[in-house]
Symmetry: C2
Amino acid sequence: MLTIALAKGALLKDSVRCFAAAGIDFSALLDKGNRQLMVPSPCGRARALLVRNGDVPVYVSYGQAQLGVVGYDVLQEHQLPVAQLLDLGFGGCRMSVAVKASSPYRRAADLPAHCRIASKFTRCAERFFDGLDLPVELIHLTGSVELGPITGMSEAIVDLVATGRTLAENGLVAIEDLFHSTARLVGNPLALRLDQGDMQQLVKELAAAAQPIEVA
Amino acid sequence: MLTIALAKGALLKDSVRCFAAAGIDFSALLDKGNRQLMVPSPCGRARALLVRNGDVPVYVSYGQAQLGVVGYDVLQEHQLPVAQLLDLGFGGCRMSVAVKASSPYRRAADLPAHCRIASKFTRCAERFFDGLDLPVELIHLTGSVELGPITGMSEAIVDLVATGRTLAENGLVAIEDLFHSTARLVGNPLALRLDQGDMQQLVKELAAAAQPIEVA
């Protein structure tokens, strides 16, 4: 039986829809009363492992799950050894640099050298500012990153932006994008190599059902 | 006006009670409809900054909050430069090593060398196993750490245990404690040095009201 790591939260509903289209029913995960973290599909072909977004590549890279669905942002931040198989298309958002709307900065390169940047994604931010050759001080936060500029702790933030509502509510504005993120189907490299056809078949079904874009 | 960083979640109710006893009313934070992250007390002496548990020492160490309330576990994990002022006594729990109840391990030293340990607190775990001179492979997870042994990814976990209910529900048992944790009042070292009496006064009132144990 295949084990598939699915992320709790924003991606779950579309992940379940995606697997349903490939004939695997994980709708029990959407039941609000559900407290189980391992849920088999009624057809017996697969079971879901319900974990935090950031933990999906961990379970897949250690082989506890053969497949997983996770945001490209998480893959960029954690850089774990998993194979990217499909761009599933849903969960679209941007990783952006944002500043106070009242600030004079209109591009990331306008930010002063050695300024402070608050983020949950400090590795993504580090690579981006390294690429600009702009030295910055990164402050790792685990939530409510918009408080960085509001409290004056940081000049800017690097964070995921979907609708932009949270930024606007906090008087912030996105000035530059690091990358666009969508949900990805990832696989354990060794499991893919040892696959007797089950995984390949499911990947094909998901590709056909969800009409996603193949990752080059 | 003093800014006080308070942790969302389990410690919030007792934190509010603690400040109420010292004459500062942050009860608006407990209102379920509250979406504000900065809430001034009606008396005008202080304002609360509502942040994630792990972010409290960040805001205090950068001076965006002069005082903060946070679990000793977070202070042990992040080791940021904040002054520990008071043990507030509430939020008691243990940082423990836990294994499958069916496993043969009854002390941490029984675990095999190079076994895998899953934890949200990998720095605490690293120091502990270094102290035992037992080499282990640490796996950082962000939630549902009990899935580590259940899926076979890790032999043991290091996690916070309050009632032990989550462990028992997942067939796990705590075999050794790293330390006991309670909520602590922390302060920004520079703010404490420059204090004109406001902070000192509030710390004294909190000490008298909550009858906590002074940290040596």
